[in-house]
Amino acid sequence: MAGQTEADGVDRRQFLKVLGTVGGGAAVLSGCSTDRVAKLVPYMVQSEDQVPGIPTWYASTCAECSSGCGLHVKTREGRPIKLEGNPDHPINAGTLCSRGQAGLQALYNPDRLAGPMAKNAAGTWDAIKWDDAIARFAARVGAAHGELAVINGYGASTFSSLLTRWTSALGGFITNFEPFSREAERLANRKSWGRTDLPVYDFAAAKYIVSFGADYLETWGSVVEHQRGFAASHGFHDGGMSRAVFVGPRLSLTAANSDEWLNVPPGAEVLVALAMAQVIAAKHGHALAGSLSRYSPGKVARETGLTADQITTLATAFAAASPSLAVAGGVGAQHRGAIDLCQAVNTLNEVAGNLGRTVQFGSAPAASEGYGAIQPLFDRMAKGEFQVVLVHDANPLYTLPRSGKFAEAFAKVTFKVSTAAILDETAKACDLILPNLHGLERWDDLTPRAGITGMMQPVIEPVRGGLHTGDVLLKAAKAVGGAVAAFSAPSFEAYLKGEWQKTLNAADFDTAWREALGKGGMFSAAPAAEQPKTAAGSEVSYTTPVFDGNGDYIFMPYPSMQYHDGRGANKPWLLENPDPITKITWQSWVEIHPDTAEKLDVREGEIVELASPHGTLRVPVYVYAGVRPDTFAMPLGLGHTEYGRYAKDRGVNALDLLGAADGQGFLPYVATRVSLARTGDYRKVARVDGMPRQLGRGIIQSMPIAYAAKGMTPEQSYKAAGGSFPESNTELERTALEGWRERQLEQTRVGNYAADNMPKWGMAVDLSRCTGCSACVTACYAENNIPTVGEEQIFRRREMSWMRIERYWEGGTGGEPLQARFSPVMCQHCDNAPCEPVCPVYAAYHTPDGLNGQVYNRCVGTRYCSNNCPFKVRYFNWLKFNDTAWPEPLNLQLNPDVTTRARGVMEKCTFCIQRIRGVQNTARLEDRTVRDGEIVTACAQACPSGAIKFGNVKDPAAEVVQWKRDQRGYTMLEEANVRPSVTYLAKVLHVEPAAFHGSEER
């Protein structure tokens, strides 16, 4: 090439230089990506190119909670548009919960800070430059002379170890803080076995699960993993399924999915555990039998409100089903006796022989500290022991009770720094904010437990002007000098790679690194389970927990499934996705038992004032039969005073009623008695449910396990149980329907679209697996650009949830246990659809592949179709929701494959037609037919329980056809003759056929 003429002053060197700075071939080709994106390792698409119109997938790790689920990030043209689970990840295996999916709305949150900010003398914020911000930070840290406190909310990771080492090099003090940190369990494990690590629970192997207040399907521990395990054991399979029992004062989602709810007063759960252990130990002649003899069922039954027989039966069944599993430690059972409770459950697992089987020690989930560590730290702050405090990925001023005067203690620190990306309560009280990057924008890793490390890689340029806190630490270290200057890595990315080079220890690090990135992390086999040795003197004891105050009712705050410890409250998907039990959106409520409500003469929506010795708050009432009459329950997570437009001033914070001073090493959430005063004010509760009972309509059907095992159909089951079963199709109706679908197809038959070759799409939903967790709902919002409408519009029943979870109540009267039924309801894609013939403009029509098509650009908004739909799955876009639902940059989350609908258009579930067409296009290009399982709808993809199956029902080998052939299959509202394409498999109950009436269902 030497001696070539150089064209117009661009020499070869400069050509390559431009190439390099713009980021190499892939980046330039892909158009809108940048050098950061180009260096990434795509997983699904082997080519590094981002092809316009074709999504590129990157593996990453979810940082929305400490479970550390693996992600596959779907990006289009350089921006993430959907988060899905990483199928190779050992924790979530391709599925993802609502909160994880809503991580996208943290990335694109419109309230993210544009850059570092410093508080000026007037108390307002000045936007400053990063160099300036780091210089200020370094100056303060350098001058603190070790009087530095660090509160780190990020889990075990290379970053956290850097932060720890950085802090100790500066002589500072660090706390790894997590509000729900399961301290009571650790303390109990120390008493039981002399170790403070937590076990991993194998729900899939357990044949009998008893939970003592641990909401393992909602907020306690690694919920997606628990859900997968629960579905595997408790979903009806091979003629049987495990049995689940929940012991606690409130019917939570976990309790509602259990076969039995033992309604025990707060603080008395421990007695049930001890009595069960006593029964089993006595029977097996276990060493602990002697010390347990004080807790025989006969002695404790009165305090628990159960009968001795009940406890004995439970214990016997629990011991007989081996391996079984008992769990404890949820926030809802975190009263002052929580350590005793967890210890009693340890004993129960021990005597039942579950250790090493369903309770596996050895691959400890990463340790975090909670209230027991943070409270002394704030005490020291109050004494003025710290000059500088750095708060990373935590919001202690919101998640700690107000009565503890933590804000006052915090204010005593001279210089307070937060790395919050959104101005939260703690950041508001700080002097300097150094906004961190989102997990999808930064290099990072996360080790939720031994053997599993998830990687994170930037998949998008920073949406706002954040900087990785790791980079801030390294730059500050350089500026401070001294011992801390040993951190010499030029960037956190380099530091991370350096640390990984040590661990990977591979000859070819680059290849190993890229492999790990592509796979989403390093997943080695779990360390061999250790058998814990019973610690000497692990005598179980029990003291009755005390409650503050002398109100008549025990106050029970519980973590909300959507908001967790409050961090979800700024994401509209989570705010609009209703609580699965109460079906309330966008606000706080207090749950009061109907009898208590009658006694106090309060009604739903009435604002009451709850008063404890530590504070008062005003909150609307929700009358709920699933809470004890002596207990008021209230979700945590709302009531923010900052934290962006969606969270600020929304609802109330239940922590305001709690006391703070406690020397037990954890925050006892359920430790307060409250009194109630009526205020006469009223606030409508934004509920999205309708009739709470099925009234014999058979919408969600169930059957006793004995009948299911015999292969009976739900109809046979209801008839065998003596119920009535309405004649669904009369002879006349049958004749009218004969050949209807064929005639429809005849009419739509054109050219090579011959109906015979067409697939027919169908779905099956296994209700014995569905837990009602609502992950599918969030997935549907994300996939289909569904606008959130806000509380005001939900009052008017204008929510747009194409897919919803129906929740109906059964029993609860006449001595029958209160039970919930959950079912996802999406468009049923009826063969004989009532919506289609009423559309005057043919916007609603039947596609040749069996869908109820909806052509948005034809729709003129008569709403006849919705009026005619028996399932009410058509949603009318009443206002310009698409103008209001996605303030910039939230709009970047939109899926370019789906039209955003304007005002005046009817919208509905299309079985993710964009995915169907996408796969069909790909198959056509590859000259093949669509494979079974290739098309996965967004809801089926997300479902942690694997309850939804989609496919071509004309393909006899298709999995969905196997599901549809199941004897438990039925279609909703069969008597309406609409012939849905969605088959539901009836829920299976652990109930004796004699006790099964099904009167409300049928």
Binding site: A7, L29, P52
Partner: protein, 192 residues
């Protein structure tokens, strides 16, 4: 259509626009007056919008006989045909091809200047499908062959400046062809 069905998609950076630009900004495809040096050859009297660089499809496709897919590289695999990157242009133009006529030299100089300034050329879009229509380019190339572009886009090889031959937003234009070839007329094939 009275309904503004497709508003709100301004948000959705259109794929074409996205492939055109390196930065996060979108929309402004009109070159800033004054900053863009005036083309020596004034193409404004020709059909079609005047582009920031007078790119000669007639030379590239007609005379040199380049394949459409050389630049519109994803047309056979994706819904989107793709717009060539600046690198694709520079692959030929940075050393060897500097133009024969002064007019062409001036246009190529603009390209090189844009490359050196790391500013992608902001082309004007000719064919923009309404956003409620999903048109998979790949399937049409698959069915009709790689030379089928002309079916909708006209004889580009004869166009010094590209202009719209067919109104691709006229559904009748699509349906006529689908009827002739006896292929699907199902609404949900394109509208979802």
């Amino acid at each position: 259509m009275g309904k503004r069905l497709l508003v709100g998609l301004g948000a959705l950076v259109s794929v074409f626009a996205a492939t055109l630009i390196l930065s996060h900004q979108s929309g402004a495809q009109q070159p800033v007056p004054g900053k863009t040096p005036a083309a020596k050859f004034d193409s404004s009297s020709m059909q079609g919008p005047r582009q920031p660089i007078f790119f000669r499809h007639d030379i590239h496709v007609g005379q040199i006989q380049m394949q459409c897919q050389y630049c519109h590289y994803s047309v056979g695999v994706s819904n989107e045909p793709g717009i060539p990157s600046m690198q694709t242009c520079m692959g030929c133009h940075f050393l060897y091809v500097t133009g024969r006529t002064p007019e062409n030299k001036a246009e190529i100089k603009k390209l090189v200047a844009a490359w050196n300034a790391k500013k992608p050329v902001e082309w004007l879009r000719i064919h923009e499908l309404a956003r409620h229509v999903h048109f998979p380019h790949s399937r049409h190339i698959k069915a009709l062959g790689p030379q089928a572009c002309a079916t909708c886009h006209g004889n580009i090889a004869r166009m010094p400046q590209v202009y719209k031959v067919n109104n691709v937003n006229n559904m009748g234009f699509c349906i006529t062809c689908h009827l002739e070839r006896k292929v699907t007329r199902d609404c949900s094939t394109c509208h979802y």
